[in-house]
C-alpha cells in the first residue's frame, strides 16, 4: 500500500467519533492488516462485580479493526461497511489491562472482504476473543 493510502486510511479511522470515544489507537496498519488498541476504562465495565470490560466494547474494537484492515487493503479503493461479524468470547479480559485487536483480510473479491481478527490483553498467548466477518468493498 502506498504511503498516501496509509495516511488517508489512518486519518479516516482516527476521525471516527465512536472509536475516539472508546480511546482506540492504531498501532499498525497496512496491506490488509490492522492493529488497534483500546485502553482499560471504568466507564466500559460490563460486570461491576469483577470490573471486566463489556463484550460490546470488544465488539466495537473488533468491528473497527476489521474495517480498518479492509480500508488498508491495496484492492479496496474506498470505504467499507460490515455485512456480518461473529465474535467468540474465549475468556474475560483482565481488568486494568488494555485490549489489542489484530485483524487481517484473508480473502478479497470485487465486492466482499473476508476478515479474521483476534483480541488479546497483556497475556498474548491466550486470546480474549476471536472474530470473523464479511465486509463490503466499495468504490469500484
Amino acid at each position: 500500500m502506498t504511503a498516501d493510502k496509509a495516511r488517508i486510511a489512518r486519518q479516516f479511522i482516527e476521525t471516527i467519533p465512536h472509536s475516539k470515544a472508546l480511546g482506540m489507537e492504531i498501532t499498525a496498519l497496512g496491506d490488509g492488516m490492522a492493529e488497534i488498541t483500546m485502553p482499560y476504562d471504568e466507564r466500559f465495565i460490563g460486570d461491576p462485580k469483577s470490573g471486566v470490560i463489556h463484550g460490546g466494547a470488544v465488539s466495537a474494537l473488533m468491528d473497527t479493526c476489521g474495517g480498518a484492515a479492509v480500508m488498508s487493503h491495496p484492492d479496496a479503493p474506498a470505504g467499507t461497511a460490515t455485512i456480518d461479524l461473529r465474535i467468540d468470547y474465549m475468556r474475560a479480559a483482565t481488568p486494568g489491562q488494555s485490549i489489542t485487536a489484530r485483524a487481517e483480510v484473508y480473502h478479497i473479491t470485487r465486492s466482499v472482504a473476508f476478515v479474521r481478527a483476534t483480541a488479546c490483553d497483556d497475556d498474548t498467548d491466550r486470546p480474549v476473543a476471536t472474530a470473523t466477518g464479511a465486509f463490503t468493498v466499495e468504490g469500484r
Binding site: 476521525t15 471516527i16 467519533p17 465512536h18 472509536s19 475516539k20 470515544a21 471504568e42 466507564r43 466500559f44 465495565i45 460490563g46 460486570d47 461491576p48 462485580k49 470490560i53 463489556h54 463484550g55 460490546g56 466494547a57 465488539s59 466495537a60 474494537l61 473488533m62 468491528d63 473497527t64 474495517g67 470505504g79 461497511a81 460490515t82 455485512i83 456480518d84 461479524l85 461473529r86 465474535i87 467468540d88 468470547y89 474475560a92
Partner: protein, 172 residues
C-alpha cells in the same frame, strides 16, 4: 373460599421497576452508551438514545457497527437476566431491596455473538427487543432485532449464545 386480593398496582410497578433499575443501572457500560429499557409487563425494549459519540461513519453519517453490535448484546443479556430472575423477585424469593443495594445475581456470560447488518444505522434513536429461543440450565440461545423508524424494517439482528450463571455460585 375468599380469593387472595390482588396486589395494589403501585406495589407491582415499584417492585418490577426497582428490579429493572438494579439490573441495568449497575452496569457502567450501559450508562456510557446511553441505553435504557422500556418495560411493559415483563416485555423489555432497549432504547439507544442517539449521541454524536455513537457515529462510526462521519461522512454518511451512520451509527458505528460496533455500537449496533453492543446495543444488541446489551439488549440480549439484560433480557435474558431479566427472564432469569423474574420468577424469583415476583415470588419474593429474591429481595428487590437487596438487588437495589447492589447484591445482583451474576450475569450470563456471552459465549458467541453474531450480528447481521441489514442497513445502515441512521443518526437517530434505535430500539431493540430480544427473544429467548432456548433457556437451559447451563446454556441459553437468544435472538435480538434492532430497528429505528419502522419495526418491520430492522437495521440489524443478532444471534447469541450464553453460559448461564451457576445458582450455587451466586454469592461468590
Amino acid at each position: 373460599m375468599a380469593r387472595k386480593a390482588p396486589e395494589p398496582v403501585q406495589v407491582v410497578k415499584q417492585r418490577r421497576d426497582a428490579a429493572l433499575n438494579a439490573l441495568v443501572g449497575g452496569v457502567p457500560y450501559i450508562n456510557f452508551m446511553g441505553i435504557s429499557f422500556d418495560r411493559r409487563g415483563d416485555e423489555l425494549t432497549g432504547v439507544l438514545s442517539f449521541d454524536e459519540k455513537l457515529i462510526g461513519n462521519p461522512i454518511l453519517p451512520a451509527i458505528h457497527g460496533g455500537v449496533t453490535a453492543a446495543f444488541l448484546e446489551v439488549t440480549a443479556v439484560i433480557s435474558l437476566s431479566w427472564a432469569y430472575i423474574w420468577e424469583d423477585f415476583e415470588s419474593g424469593a429474591l429481595d428487590v431491596e437487596a438487588l437495589a443495594a447492589g447484591n445482583l445475581p451474576r450475569l450470563p456470560k456471552t459465549i458467541d455473538f453474531t450480528v447481521d447488518y441489514l442497513r445502515s444505522g441512521l443518526p437517530r434513536d434505535a430500539y431493540a427487543r430480544a427473544t429467548i429461543t432456548r433457556a437451559g440450565r447451563r446454556y441459553a440461545s437468544v435472538q435480538a432485532t434492532a430497528w429505528q423508524d419502522n419495526k418491520d424494517r430492522p437495521f440489524a439482528q443478532a444471534t447469541a449464545h450464553f453460559l448461564m450463571p451457576r445458582p450455587d455460585l451466586s454469592n461468590d
